[in-house]
Protein backbone atom coordinates (compact mmCIF):
# COMPACT_ATOMS: atom_id res chain seq x y z
CA UNK A 1 0.00 0.00 0.00
CA UNK A 2 1.35 3.41 -0.89
CA UNK A 3 0.12 6.95 -0.87
CA UNK A 4 -0.45 8.89 -4.07
CA UNK A 5 -1.56 12.54 -3.83
CA UNK A 6 -3.15 11.93 -0.48
CA UNK A 7 -5.01 8.77 -1.55
CA UNK A 8 -3.91 5.39 -0.37
CA UNK A 9 -3.55 2.98 -3.23
CA UNK A 10 -3.31 -0.73 -2.52
CA UNK A 11 -1.30 -3.18 -4.55
CA UNK A 12 -4.53 -5.02 -5.21
CA UNK A 13 -5.89 -2.00 -7.09
CA UNK A 14 -2.83 -1.77 -9.29
CA UNK A 15 -2.93 -5.48 -9.92
CA UNK A 16 -6.60 -5.50 -10.90
CA UNK A 17 -5.99 -2.54 -13.23
CA UNK A 18 -3.15 -4.34 -15.00
CA UNK A 19 -5.16 -7.56 -15.18
CA UNK A 20 -8.08 -5.66 -16.67
CA UNK A 21 -5.98 -3.97 -19.32
CA UNK A 22 -4.31 -7.22 -20.36
CA UNK A 23 -7.04 -9.81 -19.87
CA UNK A 24 -10.28 -7.94 -20.64
CA UNK A 25 -9.92 -8.23 -24.43
CA UNK A 26 -9.33 -11.96 -24.15
CA UNK A 27 -12.15 -12.52 -21.69
CA UNK A 28 -14.45 -10.20 -23.63
CA UNK A 29 -13.67 -11.97 -26.90
CA UNK A 30 -14.26 -15.37 -25.34
CA UNK A 31 -17.57 -14.23 -23.88
CA UNK A 32 -18.57 -12.98 -27.33
CA UNK A 33 -17.59 -16.36 -28.78
CA UNK A 34 -19.52 -18.30 -26.15
CA UNK A 35 -22.43 -15.95 -26.76
CA UNK A 36 -22.46 -16.85 -30.44
CA UNK A 37 -22.11 -20.55 -29.71
CA UNK A 38 -24.95 -20.56 -27.18
CA UNK A 39 -27.10 -18.52 -29.55
CA UNK A 40 -26.44 -21.04 -32.31
CA UNK A 41 -27.35 -23.94 -30.04
CA UNK A 42 -30.56 -22.20 -29.03
CA UNK A 43 -31.43 -21.99 -32.72
CA UNK A 44 -30.58 -25.63 -33.34
CA UNK A 45 -27.33 -24.87 -35.17
CA UNK A 46 -23.78 -25.99 -34.54
CA UNK A 47 -22.37 -22.49 -34.39
CA UNK A 48 -18.90 -21.10 -34.91
CA UNK A 49 -15.86 -22.04 -32.80
CA UNK A 50 -15.62 -20.19 -29.49
CA UNK A 51 -12.54 -18.27 -30.64
CA UNK A 52 -14.37 -17.00 -33.71
CA UNK A 53 -14.42 -13.33 -32.55
CA UNK A 54 -10.61 -13.37 -32.48
CA UNK A 55 -10.47 -14.69 -36.05
CA UNK A 56 -12.88 -11.94 -37.05
CA UNK A 57 -10.82 -9.18 -35.49
CA UNK A 58 -7.55 -10.61 -36.87
CA UNK A 59 -9.08 -10.69 -40.32
CA UNK A 60 -10.52 -7.18 -40.09
CA UNK A 61 -7.16 -5.87 -38.96
CA UNK A 62 -5.59 -6.91 -42.28
CA UNK A 63 -8.29 -5.67 -44.61
CA UNK A 64 -7.77 -2.77 -46.95
CA UNK A 65 -8.78 0.58 -45.40
CA UNK A 66 -11.70 1.99 -47.37
CA UNK A 67 -13.03 4.69 -45.07
CA UNK A 68 -14.32 7.62 -47.06
CA UNK A 69 -13.77 10.27 -44.41
CA UNK A 70 -10.65 8.81 -42.87
CA UNK A 71 -9.60 11.73 -40.71
CA UNK A 72 -12.90 12.09 -38.93
CA UNK A 73 -14.43 8.66 -38.69
CA UNK A 74 -11.39 6.55 -37.85
CA UNK A 75 -10.26 9.08 -35.27
CA UNK A 76 -13.62 9.07 -33.48
CA UNK A 77 -13.78 5.30 -33.34
CA UNK A 78 -10.24 5.21 -31.95
CA UNK A 79 -11.32 7.74 -29.31
CA UNK A 80 -14.27 5.51 -28.47
CA UNK A 81 -11.90 2.62 -27.86
CA UNK A 82 -9.50 4.72 -25.76
CA UNK A 83 -12.23 6.19 -23.57
CA UNK A 84 -13.81 2.78 -23.14
CA UNK A 85 -10.49 1.46 -21.87
CA UNK A 86 -10.11 4.48 -19.57
CA UNK A 87 -13.61 3.99 -18.17
CA UNK A 88 -12.92 0.34 -17.48
CA UNK A 89 -9.57 1.20 -15.94
CA UNK A 90 -11.24 3.64 -13.56
CA UNK A 91 -13.68 0.95 -12.57
CA UNK A 92 -11.12 -1.77 -11.95
CA UNK A 93 -8.71 0.62 -10.30
CA UNK A 94 -11.39 1.35 -7.73
CA UNK A 95 -12.22 4.89 -8.76
CA UNK A 96 -15.41 6.85 -8.45
CA UNK A 97 -18.37 5.15 -10.12
CA UNK A 98 -19.73 8.47 -11.37
CA UNK A 99 -16.42 9.09 -13.08
CA UNK A 100 -16.64 5.65 -14.67
CA UNK A 101 -20.15 6.30 -15.94
CA UNK A 102 -19.32 9.71 -17.39
CA UNK A 103 -16.23 8.38 -19.15
CA UNK A 104 -18.33 5.55 -20.52
CA UNK A 105 -20.80 8.12 -21.83
CA UNK A 106 -17.94 10.01 -23.48
CA UNK A 107 -16.89 6.82 -25.25
CA UNK A 108 -20.45 6.23 -26.46
CA UNK A 109 -20.72 9.82 -27.66
CA UNK A 110 -17.56 9.38 -29.72
CA UNK A 111 -19.19 6.38 -31.33
CA UNK A 112 -22.27 8.44 -32.14
CA UNK A 113 -20.13 11.20 -33.65
CA UNK A 114 -18.29 8.60 -35.72
CA UNK A 115 -21.67 7.45 -37.04
CA UNK A 116 -22.73 10.99 -37.85
CA UNK A 117 -19.41 11.82 -39.50
CA UNK A 118 -20.00 9.31 -42.27
CA UNK A 119 -22.37 10.41 -44.98
CA UNK A 120 -24.33 7.20 -45.03
CA UNK A 121 -27.99 7.59 -44.10
CA UNK A 122 -27.92 4.15 -42.47
CA UNK A 123 -25.09 5.16 -40.17
CA UNK A 124 -26.74 8.47 -39.37
CA UNK A 125 -30.07 6.93 -38.45
CA UNK A 126 -28.07 4.39 -36.46
CA UNK A 127 -26.34 7.24 -34.64
CA UNK A 128 -29.67 8.84 -33.83
CA UNK A 129 -30.96 5.58 -32.44
CA UNK A 130 -27.78 5.15 -30.44
CA UNK A 131 -28.48 8.51 -28.82
CA UNK A 132 -32.00 7.36 -27.98
CA UNK A 133 -30.59 4.20 -26.47
CA UNK A 134 -28.22 6.26 -24.36
CA UNK A 135 -31.15 8.35 -23.19
CA UNK A 136 -32.92 5.15 -22.19
CA UNK A 137 -30.21 3.49 -20.15
CA UNK A 138 -28.29 6.41 -18.72
CA UNK A 139 -30.70 7.36 -15.87
CA UNK A 140 -30.79 3.80 -14.58
CA UNK A 141 -27.00 3.48 -14.58
CA UNK A 142 -26.67 6.74 -12.68
CA UNK A 143 -29.30 5.72 -10.12
CA UNK A 144 -27.37 2.50 -9.57
CA UNK A 145 -24.28 4.52 -8.67
CA UNK A 146 -26.36 6.60 -6.26
CA UNK A 147 -27.71 3.41 -4.71
CA UNK A 148 -24.19 2.08 -4.18
CA UNK A 149 -23.34 5.34 -2.47
CA UNK A 150 -26.34 5.17 -0.13
CA UNK A 151 -25.52 1.63 0.91
CA UNK A 152 -21.75 1.83 1.12
CA UNK A 153 -21.28 5.57 1.80
CA UNK A 154 -18.83 5.75 -1.08
CA UNK A 155 -18.80 6.04 -4.84
CA UNK A 156 -15.43 4.31 -5.09
CA UNK A 157 -15.68 0.83 -6.49
CA UNK A 158 -12.69 -0.24 -4.37
CA UNK A 159 -14.52 0.78 -1.18
CA UNK A 160 -17.76 -0.85 -2.34
CA UNK A 161 -15.86 -4.05 -3.09
CA UNK A 162 -14.49 -4.35 0.44
CA UNK A 163 -17.32 -2.77 2.42
CA UNK A 164 -19.16 -5.19 4.73
CA UNK A 165 -22.57 -4.35 3.27
CA UNK A 166 -23.99 -6.75 0.73
CA UNK A 167 -25.41 -4.28 -1.77
CA UNK A 168 -27.97 -6.65 -3.32
CA UNK A 169 -29.73 -6.90 0.06
CA UNK A 170 -30.45 -3.20 0.01
CA UNK A 171 -30.88 -2.59 -3.68
CA UNK A 172 -32.71 -5.49 -5.37
CA UNK A 173 -34.83 -3.04 -7.35
CA UNK A 174 -31.77 -1.30 -8.69
CA UNK A 175 -30.35 -4.70 -9.65
CA UNK A 176 -33.45 -5.59 -11.67
CA UNK A 177 -33.35 -2.18 -13.32
CA UNK A 178 -29.67 -2.50 -14.19
CA UNK A 179 -30.15 -5.96 -15.69
CA UNK A 180 -32.98 -4.51 -17.76
CA UNK A 181 -30.87 -1.72 -19.22
CA UNK A 182 -28.00 -4.16 -19.65
CA UNK A 183 -30.03 -5.62 -22.52
CA UNK A 184 -29.75 -2.24 -24.23
CA UNK A 185 -26.09 -1.85 -23.34
CA UNK A 186 -25.14 -5.31 -24.60
CA UNK A 187 -27.02 -4.60 -27.86
CA UNK A 188 -29.40 -7.49 -27.53
CA UNK A 189 -32.86 -7.84 -29.02
CA UNK A 190 -35.43 -6.36 -28.43
CA UNK A 191 -33.25 -3.26 -28.00
CA UNK A 192 -30.56 -3.64 -30.66
CA UNK A 193 -31.84 -0.60 -32.51
CA UNK A 194 -28.70 1.21 -33.55
CA UNK A 195 -26.67 -1.75 -34.75
CA UNK A 196 -27.26 -5.42 -34.75
CA UNK A 197 -25.23 -8.58 -34.79
CA UNK A 198 -27.66 -10.03 -37.28
CA UNK A 199 -27.76 -9.48 -40.98
CA UNK A 200 -30.39 -7.93 -43.18
CA UNK A 201 -31.95 -5.36 -40.96
CA UNK A 202 -33.71 -2.32 -42.28
CA UNK A 203 -30.62 -0.27 -41.42
CA UNK A 204 -28.11 -2.70 -42.97
CA UNK A 205 -25.58 -2.60 -40.13
CA UNK A 206 -26.83 0.65 -38.61
CA UNK A 207 -24.18 2.71 -36.93
CA UNK A 208 -21.37 0.47 -38.16
CA UNK A 209 -22.40 0.42 -41.82
CA UNK A 210 -19.52 2.65 -42.90
CA UNK A 211 -16.90 1.20 -40.58
CA UNK A 212 -14.66 -1.42 -42.06
CA UNK A 213 -11.34 -3.13 -41.56
CA UNK A 214 -9.29 -1.85 -38.68
CA UNK A 215 -11.93 0.63 -37.54
CA UNK A 216 -14.49 -2.11 -37.16
CA UNK A 217 -11.95 -4.24 -35.32
CA UNK A 218 -11.29 -1.40 -32.87
CA UNK A 219 -14.99 -1.06 -32.26
CA UNK A 220 -15.25 -4.77 -31.60
CA UNK A 221 -12.38 -4.62 -29.09
CA UNK A 222 -13.99 -1.67 -27.35
CA UNK A 223 -17.16 -3.77 -26.98
CA UNK A 224 -15.10 -6.46 -25.28
CA UNK A 225 -13.66 -3.99 -22.80
CA UNK A 226 -17.10 -2.53 -22.24
CA UNK A 227 -18.82 -5.85 -21.65
CA UNK A 228 -16.28 -6.92 -19.05
CA UNK A 229 -16.80 -3.65 -17.19
CA UNK A 230 -20.59 -3.95 -17.34
CA UNK A 231 -20.40 -7.44 -15.92
CA UNK A 232 -18.15 -5.96 -13.24
CA UNK A 233 -21.03 -3.65 -12.33
CA UNK A 234 -23.31 -6.67 -11.88
CA UNK A 235 -20.64 -8.37 -9.79
CA UNK A 236 -20.35 -5.33 -7.51
CA UNK A 237 -23.85 -6.02 -6.16
CA UNK A 238 -22.63 -9.23 -4.56
CA UNK A 239 -19.56 -8.17 -2.65
CA UNK A 240 -19.23 -7.88 1.09
CA UNK A 241 -15.57 -8.71 1.45
CA UNK A 242 -16.02 -12.48 1.81
CA UNK A 243 -14.77 -15.11 -0.63
CA UNK A 244 -18.07 -16.95 -0.62
CA UNK A 245 -19.81 -13.94 -2.09
CA UNK A 246 -17.14 -13.70 -4.78
CA UNK A 247 -18.22 -17.13 -6.00
CA UNK A 248 -21.89 -16.20 -5.72
CA UNK A 249 -21.17 -13.01 -7.64
CA UNK A 250 -19.45 -14.86 -10.49
CA UNK A 251 -22.31 -17.35 -10.72
CA UNK A 252 -24.85 -14.53 -10.84
CA UNK A 253 -22.86 -12.77 -13.58
CA UNK A 254 -22.93 -15.96 -15.65
CA UNK A 255 -26.66 -16.43 -15.07
CA UNK A 256 -27.38 -12.81 -15.98
CA UNK A 257 -25.43 -13.12 -19.20
CA UNK A 258 -27.23 -16.34 -20.08
CA UNK A 259 -30.58 -14.67 -19.49
CA UNK A 260 -29.52 -11.82 -21.79
CA UNK A 261 -28.71 -14.33 -24.54
CA UNK A 262 -32.06 -16.02 -24.00
CA UNK A 263 -33.89 -12.69 -24.22
CA UNK A 264 -31.94 -11.90 -27.37
CA UNK A 265 -33.13 -15.12 -28.97
CA UNK A 266 -36.79 -15.04 -28.04
CA UNK A 267 -37.50 -11.39 -28.77
CA UNK A 268 -38.14 -9.51 -31.96
CA UNK A 269 -36.76 -6.03 -32.21
CA UNK A 270 -38.92 -3.25 -30.76
CA UNK A 271 -39.29 0.37 -31.80
CA UNK A 272 -37.33 3.10 -30.06
CA UNK A 273 -40.49 4.43 -28.44
CA UNK A 274 -40.92 1.18 -26.57
CA UNK A 275 -37.25 1.12 -25.61
CA UNK A 276 -37.35 4.60 -24.17
CA UNK A 277 -40.69 4.22 -22.39
CA UNK A 278 -40.04 0.80 -20.90
CA UNK A 279 -36.54 1.73 -19.77
CA UNK A 280 -37.72 4.90 -18.08
CA UNK A 281 -40.73 3.22 -16.47
CA UNK A 282 -38.52 0.45 -15.09
CA UNK A 283 -36.01 3.07 -13.94
CA UNK A 284 -38.73 5.02 -12.17
CA UNK A 285 -40.42 2.07 -10.50
CA UNK A 286 -37.48 -0.18 -9.63
CA UNK A 287 -34.67 2.36 -9.48
CA UNK A 288 -36.56 5.29 -7.99
CA UNK A 289 -38.63 3.06 -5.69
CA UNK A 290 -35.55 1.35 -4.35
CA UNK A 291 -33.78 4.64 -3.72
CA UNK A 292 -36.89 5.97 -1.98
CA UNK A 293 -36.91 3.01 0.40
CA UNK A 294 -33.16 3.34 0.98
CA UNK A 295 -33.59 7.00 1.77
CA UNK A 296 -36.14 6.29 4.49
CA UNK A 297 -34.17 3.34 5.78
CA UNK A 298 -31.12 5.54 6.25
CA UNK A 299 -33.18 8.18 8.00
CA UNK A 300 -34.70 5.54 10.26
CA UNK A 301 -31.29 4.08 11.11
CA UNK A 302 -29.96 7.52 11.81
CA UNK A 303 -32.88 8.29 14.15
CA UNK A 304 -32.45 4.97 15.91
CA UNK A 305 -28.80 5.74 16.49
CA UNK A 306 -29.77 9.11 18.02
CA UNK A 307 -32.15 7.63 20.58
CA UNK A 308 -29.96 4.82 21.84
Amino acid sequence: MFVFYGDTISLFQVLSLVLYLVLAPFAGGLIAGIDRKVTARMQGRVGPPIVQPFYDVAKLWKKEPVTVRTGAQDFYVLCCLIFMIIAGSFFFFGFNLLMVIFTLTTASIFLVIAGYSSNSPYAQIGAERELLQMMSYEPMVLLTAVGFFMVNSSFNSATILTSPYLSIQYMPGLFIGLVFVLTIKLRKSPFDLSMSHHAHQELVKGLTTEFSGRTLAQLEISHWYENIMLLGFVFLFFTNGSWLMVIVGIVVVIVVYFVEILIDNVCARMKWQFTLKSAWIITLIFGGGNLFVLYYLRGYLWMASQYQ
Binding site: R45, G47, Y55, E64
Partner: protein, 186 residues
Protein backbone atom coordinates in the same frame (compact mmCIF):
# COMPACT_ATOMS: atom_id res chain seq x y z
CA UNK B 1 -3.60 -20.31 -41.70
CA UNK B 2 -4.65 -16.77 -42.55
CA UNK B 3 -7.43 -15.46 -40.34
CA UNK B 4 -9.35 -14.44 -43.43
CA UNK B 5 -10.05 -18.06 -44.29
CA UNK B 6 -11.58 -18.57 -40.87
CA UNK B 7 -13.84 -15.58 -40.97
CA UNK B 8 -15.19 -15.04 -44.47
CA UNK B 9 -18.12 -12.65 -44.37
CA UNK B 10 -20.42 -12.69 -47.33
CA UNK B 11 -22.73 -10.34 -49.12
CA UNK B 12 -25.34 -11.72 -51.43
CA UNK B 13 -26.72 -10.02 -54.51
CA UNK B 14 -29.38 -11.16 -56.93
CA UNK B 15 -28.37 -10.00 -60.42
CA UNK B 16 -31.70 -10.77 -62.11
CA UNK B 17 -31.81 -14.46 -61.37
CA UNK B 18 -35.03 -16.45 -61.32
CA UNK B 19 -34.69 -16.47 -57.51
CA UNK B 20 -34.09 -20.20 -57.43
CA UNK B 21 -30.40 -19.88 -56.65
CA UNK B 22 -31.14 -17.11 -54.13
CA UNK B 23 -33.35 -19.34 -52.09
CA UNK B 24 -30.57 -21.92 -52.07
CA UNK B 25 -28.08 -19.30 -50.84
CA UNK B 26 -30.41 -18.45 -47.99
CA UNK B 27 -30.88 -22.15 -47.30
CA UNK B 28 -27.16 -22.29 -46.46
CA UNK B 29 -27.85 -20.08 -43.45
CA UNK B 30 -30.54 -22.30 -41.97
CA UNK B 31 -29.91 -24.75 -39.13
CA UNK B 32 -29.83 -27.54 -41.72
CA UNK B 33 -26.60 -26.29 -43.35
CA UNK B 34 -25.46 -23.64 -40.84
CA UNK B 35 -22.57 -21.92 -42.61
CA UNK B 36 -21.79 -20.00 -39.45
CA UNK B 37 -19.81 -23.02 -38.30
CA UNK B 38 -17.15 -21.89 -40.79
CA UNK B 39 -17.30 -18.38 -39.35
CA UNK B 40 -19.33 -17.26 -42.35
CA UNK B 41 -21.67 -14.38 -41.64
CA UNK B 42 -24.16 -12.91 -44.07
CA UNK B 43 -23.39 -9.23 -43.53
CA UNK B 44 -25.59 -7.56 -46.11
CA UNK B 45 -23.03 -4.76 -46.15
CA UNK B 46 -20.31 -4.57 -48.82
CA UNK B 47 -17.91 -2.72 -46.53
CA UNK B 48 -17.87 -5.65 -44.12
CA UNK B 49 -17.83 -8.41 -46.71
CA UNK B 50 -15.02 -10.56 -48.10
CA UNK B 51 -17.03 -12.68 -50.51
CA UNK B 52 -19.65 -11.54 -53.00
CA UNK B 53 -22.13 -14.30 -53.72
CA UNK B 54 -23.93 -13.38 -56.87
CA UNK B 55 -26.71 -15.17 -58.68
CA UNK B 56 -28.24 -14.48 -62.06
CA UNK B 57 -26.88 -13.31 -65.38
CA UNK B 58 -26.89 -9.57 -64.56
CA UNK B 59 -29.06 -7.33 -66.70
CA UNK B 60 -28.27 -3.95 -68.17
CA UNK B 61 -29.91 -2.12 -65.27
CA UNK B 62 -28.04 -3.77 -62.47
CA UNK B 63 -24.58 -3.68 -64.05
CA UNK B 64 -23.72 -0.42 -62.23
CA UNK B 65 -25.17 -1.83 -59.00
CA UNK B 66 -23.04 -4.96 -59.16
CA UNK B 67 -19.97 -2.89 -59.91
CA UNK B 68 -20.76 -0.50 -57.09
CA UNK B 69 -21.11 -3.31 -54.57
CA UNK B 70 -17.92 -4.93 -55.80
CA UNK B 71 -15.90 -1.72 -55.63
CA UNK B 72 -17.13 -0.95 -52.12
CA UNK B 73 -15.76 -4.21 -50.77
CA UNK B 74 -12.32 -3.82 -49.20
CA UNK B 75 -9.56 -6.06 -50.62
CA UNK B 76 -8.81 -8.94 -50.46
CA UNK B 77 -12.13 -10.09 -51.86
CA UNK B 78 -13.51 -12.79 -54.09
CA UNK B 79 -16.61 -13.28 -56.18
CA UNK B 80 -18.51 -16.55 -56.29
CA UNK B 81 -20.91 -16.82 -59.21
CA UNK B 82 -23.75 -19.14 -58.32
CA UNK B 83 -25.77 -21.09 -60.83
CA UNK B 84 -25.67 -21.53 -64.57
CA UNK B 85 -27.11 -18.05 -65.11
CA UNK B 86 -24.25 -16.43 -63.27
CA UNK B 87 -21.77 -18.50 -65.24
CA UNK B 88 -22.92 -17.77 -68.78
CA UNK B 89 -26.46 -16.48 -68.80
CA UNK B 90 -28.18 -19.86 -68.65
CA UNK B 91 -31.78 -19.81 -69.79
CA UNK B 92 -31.72 -16.01 -69.95
CA UNK B 93 -28.70 -15.92 -72.25
CA UNK B 94 -30.51 -14.67 -75.30
CA UNK B 95 -32.54 -11.95 -73.66
CA UNK B 96 -31.87 -8.50 -75.12
CA UNK B 97 -30.93 -6.96 -71.76
CA UNK B 98 -28.76 -9.69 -70.30
CA UNK B 99 -25.00 -9.37 -69.90
CA UNK B 100 -24.66 -13.15 -70.05
CA UNK B 101 -22.72 -14.05 -66.95
CA UNK B 102 -21.25 -12.21 -64.02
CA UNK B 103 -17.72 -12.37 -65.39
CA UNK B 104 -18.65 -9.93 -68.12
CA UNK B 105 -19.13 -7.27 -65.47
CA UNK B 106 -16.73 -8.04 -62.61
CA UNK B 107 -13.93 -10.60 -62.18
CA UNK B 108 -15.21 -13.94 -60.89
CA UNK B 109 -13.07 -16.35 -58.87
CA UNK B 110 -15.29 -19.38 -58.38
CA UNK B 111 -18.20 -20.73 -60.45
CA UNK B 112 -20.78 -22.93 -58.76
CA UNK B 113 -22.69 -25.19 -61.12
CA UNK B 114 -26.33 -26.18 -61.01
CA UNK B 115 -29.75 -24.87 -61.86
CA UNK B 116 -30.55 -24.27 -59.11
CA UNK B 117 -27.20 -24.72 -57.38
CA UNK B 118 -27.57 -26.95 -54.36
CA UNK B 119 -26.68 -25.56 -50.93
CA UNK B 120 -23.95 -28.21 -50.61
CA UNK B 121 -22.26 -27.05 -53.78
CA UNK B 122 -22.65 -23.39 -52.77
CA UNK B 123 -20.85 -24.12 -49.49
CA UNK B 124 -18.27 -26.08 -51.49
CA UNK B 125 -17.77 -23.10 -53.77
CA UNK B 126 -17.32 -20.70 -50.89
CA UNK B 127 -14.85 -23.02 -49.17
CA UNK B 128 -12.94 -23.38 -52.46
CA UNK B 129 -12.87 -19.61 -52.68
CA UNK B 130 -11.16 -19.38 -49.30
CA UNK B 131 -7.93 -20.65 -50.87
CA UNK B 132 -8.12 -17.89 -53.47
CA UNK B 133 -8.82 -15.39 -50.70
CA UNK B 134 -5.72 -16.47 -48.77
CA UNK B 135 -3.59 -16.23 -51.94
CA UNK B 136 -4.89 -12.75 -52.64
CA UNK B 137 -4.13 -11.63 -49.13
CA UNK B 138 -0.59 -12.98 -49.36
CA UNK B 139 -0.14 -11.20 -52.68
CA UNK B 140 -1.39 -7.92 -51.24
CA UNK B 141 0.84 -8.31 -48.19
CA UNK B 142 3.89 -8.78 -50.42
CA UNK B 143 3.15 -5.42 -51.99
CA UNK B 144 1.47 -6.36 -55.23
CA UNK B 145 -1.05 -3.89 -56.58
CA UNK B 146 -4.67 -4.79 -56.13
CA UNK B 147 -5.98 -6.40 -59.34
CA UNK B 148 -9.56 -6.40 -58.09
CA UNK B 149 -11.09 -3.34 -59.64
CA UNK B 150 -14.18 -3.50 -61.77
CA UNK B 151 -12.89 -0.82 -64.16
CA UNK B 152 -11.18 -3.32 -66.43
CA UNK B 153 -14.49 -5.02 -66.99
CA UNK B 154 -16.40 -2.18 -68.58
CA UNK B 155 -19.26 -3.81 -70.34
CA UNK B 156 -21.10 -2.20 -73.19
CA UNK B 157 -24.49 -3.82 -73.79
CA UNK B 158 -24.70 -2.65 -77.42
CA UNK B 159 -21.40 -4.09 -78.55
CA UNK B 160 -22.29 -7.21 -76.61
CA UNK B 161 -25.48 -7.54 -78.59
CA UNK B 162 -23.38 -7.61 -81.75
CA UNK B 163 -20.99 -10.10 -80.24
CA UNK B 164 -23.95 -12.10 -79.12
CA UNK B 165 -25.25 -12.19 -82.68
CA UNK B 166 -21.94 -13.60 -83.87
CA UNK B 167 -21.73 -16.10 -81.03
CA UNK B 168 -25.21 -17.29 -81.78
CA UNK B 169 -24.32 -17.90 -85.40
CA UNK B 170 -26.14 -14.81 -86.62
CA UNK B 171 -23.11 -13.26 -88.27
CA UNK B 172 -25.30 -11.83 -91.00
CA UNK B 173 -27.42 -10.00 -88.48
CA UNK B 174 -24.34 -8.51 -86.85
CA UNK B 175 -23.02 -7.40 -90.22
CA UNK B 176 -26.35 -5.88 -91.14
CA UNK B 177 -26.44 -3.97 -87.94
CA UNK B 178 -22.91 -2.61 -88.20
CA UNK B 179 -23.57 -1.63 -91.81
CA UNK B 180 -26.74 0.13 -90.77
CA UNK B 181 -24.82 1.98 -88.11
CA UNK B 182 -22.16 3.04 -90.60
CA UNK B 183 -24.86 4.29 -92.90
CA UNK B 184 -26.39 6.29 -90.09
CA UNK B 185 -22.99 7.72 -89.23
CA UNK B 186 -22.59 8.98 -92.79
Amino acid sequence: MAAITKSPWIIHYDGSSCNGCDIEVLACLTPMYDVERFGIINTGNPKHADILLITGAVNAQNIPVVRQIYDQMPSPKIVVAIGVCAANGGVFKECYNIAGGVDRVIPVDVYVHGCAARPESIIDGVVKGLGVLAEKQAALASGETDPDVSGAYLFDPVSYAEKGDIENGDAEGAKDRSEAEEEAAK
